[in-house]
Amino acid sequence: MTTAVPGLIRPSSIRPRVIGVGGAVRSVGAFLLVLVVLAAVWELAKAIGGVPWRDFLGSPIDPPWNPPLRIKQLNDQNLPHVWDVATAFFQPATRNSPHSLGAILIDAAVFTGRSAFAGFVIGGIFGTALAVIFVHSRLLERALVPYVIASQTVPIVALAPMVVLWIGRDWTSVALVSAYLTFFPVTIAGIRGLASPDPRALDLMRTYAADPWRVLWKVRFPAAMPYFFTAFKIAATASVVGAIVGEEPTGIRGGLGRAILQFNEQYITGPEKLWATVLASAALGIVFFGAVRVVELVVFRNRQAVIEA
């Protein structure tokens, strides 16, 4: 009887795979390709206007190439060579430091990453809880959502020192600052997502005399997952930004925020160190984003439509 049915019958082994191992390899490949292109454009710009042009060994005495133009923004002080930034990772962080800059930045990224992860989790849980409350109470939604929005207009640099006063000068303060930035997208997307089920799906649950709790777990949360994951991806990068910015005005040591301040002060003598730190910060954000994306792919492995990154 099944053969007579028109439509979408497929062999039972078929699972719509949104992205497989091949897809992941292609994504990483494309990312690396763009990185190479960016580096090439960067060096091309320096070859055109970066006076004086130095080679790998940094020798300015006998320049192998004279750029035709002299553009201030492209000189070694403002835009160090790609290879200078790259080799900076392997050189001592400061003149007498026993550790390479790379080792120090990895430590700093782990430190900041810990705060950011804690902030992401706290913000994610708090943001989800708010969305759940708002979806069940129009009154609370109307009353509180404006404050949720207003909370995001407060400059984090003004807030962070206050948090340190309340909580103390350690990484938990940083995590809270990070959570402050991460809960917002989760709440806003969560309200949409939890309200997204088809009214007939809610009617169906009503015919089962399902209590709100069951409706939440069996219909609202699963339906909201694409919305939540979109928010989690935003929150993942926001949590890293929040942690770095949270470290800066609070003087907390050991993280990327502190490293950025320090290498900013030493910019004249070693601009490539600040650039390397910026790259390390970006890499941390990408790792966070990628981790959420991987979890998303696992959660959605059986769903037809996955919202693309």
């Binding site: 007579a4 439509g7 979408l8 039972s12 009503r206 015919t207 005399a209 069996k218 439509a305």
Partner: protein, 267 residues
Amino acid sequence: MSERASIVDVQQVEKRFEGAGATTVALQGINLTIGSREFVSLIGPSGCGKSTLLRLVADLTAPSAGQITINGKTAPRARMDRDYGMVFQAPVLFDWRTIDENVQLPLEVMGVPRAARRKRSVEMLSLVELSEFSRHHPWQLSGGMQQRAAIARALAFEPKLLLMDEPFGALDEMTRERMNDELLRIWERTGTTVVFVTHSIPEAVFLSSSVVVMSARPGRITHTIEIDLPRPRTDATRETEQYFSLITQVREALRAGQGPIAPEAAL
């Protein structure tokens, strides 16, 4: 309609929708008694309140006036007791669940233990002939198969009453006839009472023990036509004289209910 115990009893029901400024009288003076194991179809022009009547019985909306009794209980009580199963025009299956898991959903909500749930789902899927597709996800099935899964889900907790709102409305004619055959087979095997909304006259006649004809603005019941075609009904039934004459009878009742185009409608 029947001397047997009534499953659904609708008395003097009215339903108004208060809109901005305007009030729609969706249903007025509705009386309907449906006995155990009957198969009753509601038919009428679009907007005459068929869905609204079904939703009233299901306690998805409350009547503006009148009384609705199901199994001797109020509609809300019957809903809380899970006395009925509902099938909508769209299958409303959850994408993130397999067909098997979709069928188990009402049982999960009702706290049935896992083993019993599984067993029941296997039975229901074999009843609607979807056993091989139990591990598929809804989007891997055709529209007709999805609707069968929705029926299996509605029957999973053995409700005495099945409420169906144009369940086959989106299907092509061929598939619809096959689904009708299957629905009758299921109905005969499970011994449920069915209230079935449709806008297809042949479908109503083929399936029903009686057809309730409604008219619009305000929605009312104008005729009730007993369908005494012998059972079991098969493809051969669709070619009998009696079948065609009943179709004509329902068509005329529908036309009579609509009446001439009312002059005030031209406003």
